[in-house]
Assembly symmetry: C2
Homo-oligomer: 240 residues x 2
DNA sequence: ACCTGAACACCGTTCAAGT
DNA sequence: ACCTGAACACCGTTCAAGT
């Protein structure tokens, strides 16, 4: 039984990438000496996904933006999936966790982390479907995770708690941002949703309408803070 | 400026669907009297997505499974996106919230809700990318939301808190399930991840490795319970 | 009148032919 | 030796031709 190659973006696949301990360095092309560097390709791909969405993005579109042909892309990457995995990691590279160094306790460190990821992800809402499809353990993703866990451990949080707290916060941020700013959300999302609820039959959905009336008036930022507070306060019950 | 039609799966799009207050009834075909009923098409599509994944799923595959042609599908649905929106809602229809009626307080109601969604979603891991791409306000999605909110309000949770607690729990469950059972997760995900962390340089990732050592030994179910407990306990701080 | 085979304009990927 | 135009086997969608 021949081992099937790991899917691009999975942990096993990233492990086979060159130079995983040097997050800033772009992956080297694996054959020949190319005229395009991989960082430029990934950066252009991210820009195109930002502008046109994952749905409309295509290798032909990318090749044209690079003044090249689609076949050339296969000299730098094994295929579209591999390019997308690097696009995801590029977004994670934009996460700014500088405020971590001045955080005074683990609660503040977790809050800083959530806001850092939230700020980066909302700048690239069209990449959110990719972030959910790929396990984010590329070089930048790993580096950020290391940074956060180091801060949490330094503040005295037990290792088992730190690891799971990070995962819980990451899940929350990605899920929240996807629902609020993701491709499915219309430009005027909140008003659209309000109009939607207003059109529902009060007989069939009494609880939903009562809840919606108190929901749609709340600002999105406050909503984000609400869920984050839930997580941090819940964690405080389990930490010393 | 002509109004652009709402994207399939968005709230405005679902609002234009017929019969939103009768969740069990399948949507009626909009032209003629077809030989295939829409429920059968959606059910077959879900089975094919379960078996082959969203990536491999195609309208040709669906048409062949129905002993029909792709053009016939366009007599029942406006296109692939619309079919996918119904597939997502079908999965939400499988969520069993029967235990809600015997829940004794809002904490238990929230826990029951999380487990109900978790159980349904893990049965259809390949649909998780779809669940993130579409706002789940189809007939089944709405009915479940109504059921949960009614239970929370009945147990005395304020409306503003109930609505946001539901959203926070839903985000958490979808995010967690996607990372654990989603398409990107390999069959032997936990051992793969463990091997991955084992291969990292201890000099570069000291915190990550320390946290991973205490993480990979934990069962997945316990991991799910951990984050859920965070949410519920955090919420208790804000509720009477 | 309803249905659908066949065509259309794409897509990711490959490879033989170019330089 | 490196690069890439053109082809390949698909895809979602449309429509004219069938019944």
């Amino acid at each position: 039984m021949a081992a099937t190659p790991p899917p691009p973006g999975s942990p096993a696949w990233w492990a086979a990438r060159p130079d995983p301990t040097a997050p800033a360095a772009a992956a080297e092309p694996r054959r020949g000496r190319p005229s395009l560097d991989t960082a430029h390709i990934v950066g252009t791909a991210l820009r195109l996904v930002d502008e046109h969405g994952t749905q409309a993005f295509s290798l032909r579109m990318l090749a044209e933006a690079l003044n090249s042909g689609t076949a050339t892309l296969y000299r730098h990457f094994d295929g579209k999936d591999e390019i997308m995995a690097y696009v995801v990691d590029r977004v994670l590279g934009e996460v700014n966790l500088g405020a971590l160094t001045t955080s005074s306790d683990w609660r503040e460190a977790l809050t800083v982390t959530a806001h850092g990821f939230h700020d980066a992800l909302r700048r690239h809402p069209n990449t959110l479907p990719l972030l959910m499809a790929y396990v984010p353990v590329g070089p930048h993703g790993l580096a950020q995770r290391e940074r956060v866990l180091a801060a949490l451990l330094e503040h005295g949080l037990p290792a088992a708690l730190a690891a799971r707290a990070f995962t819980a916060v990451a899940h929350y941020v990605v899920g929240f941002t996807a629902q609020q700013y993701g491709p499915a959300a219309a430009p005027d999302h909140s008003t659209e949703v309000a109009a939607f609820y207003g059109g529902l039959d009060p007989e069939s959905y009494p609880a939903l309408l009562q809840a919606a009336r108190s929901l749609t008036s709340v600002a999105v930022d406050e909503e984000f803070e609400f869920g984050l507070t839930l997580l941090v306060r819940g964690l405080a019950h389990l930490a010393p």
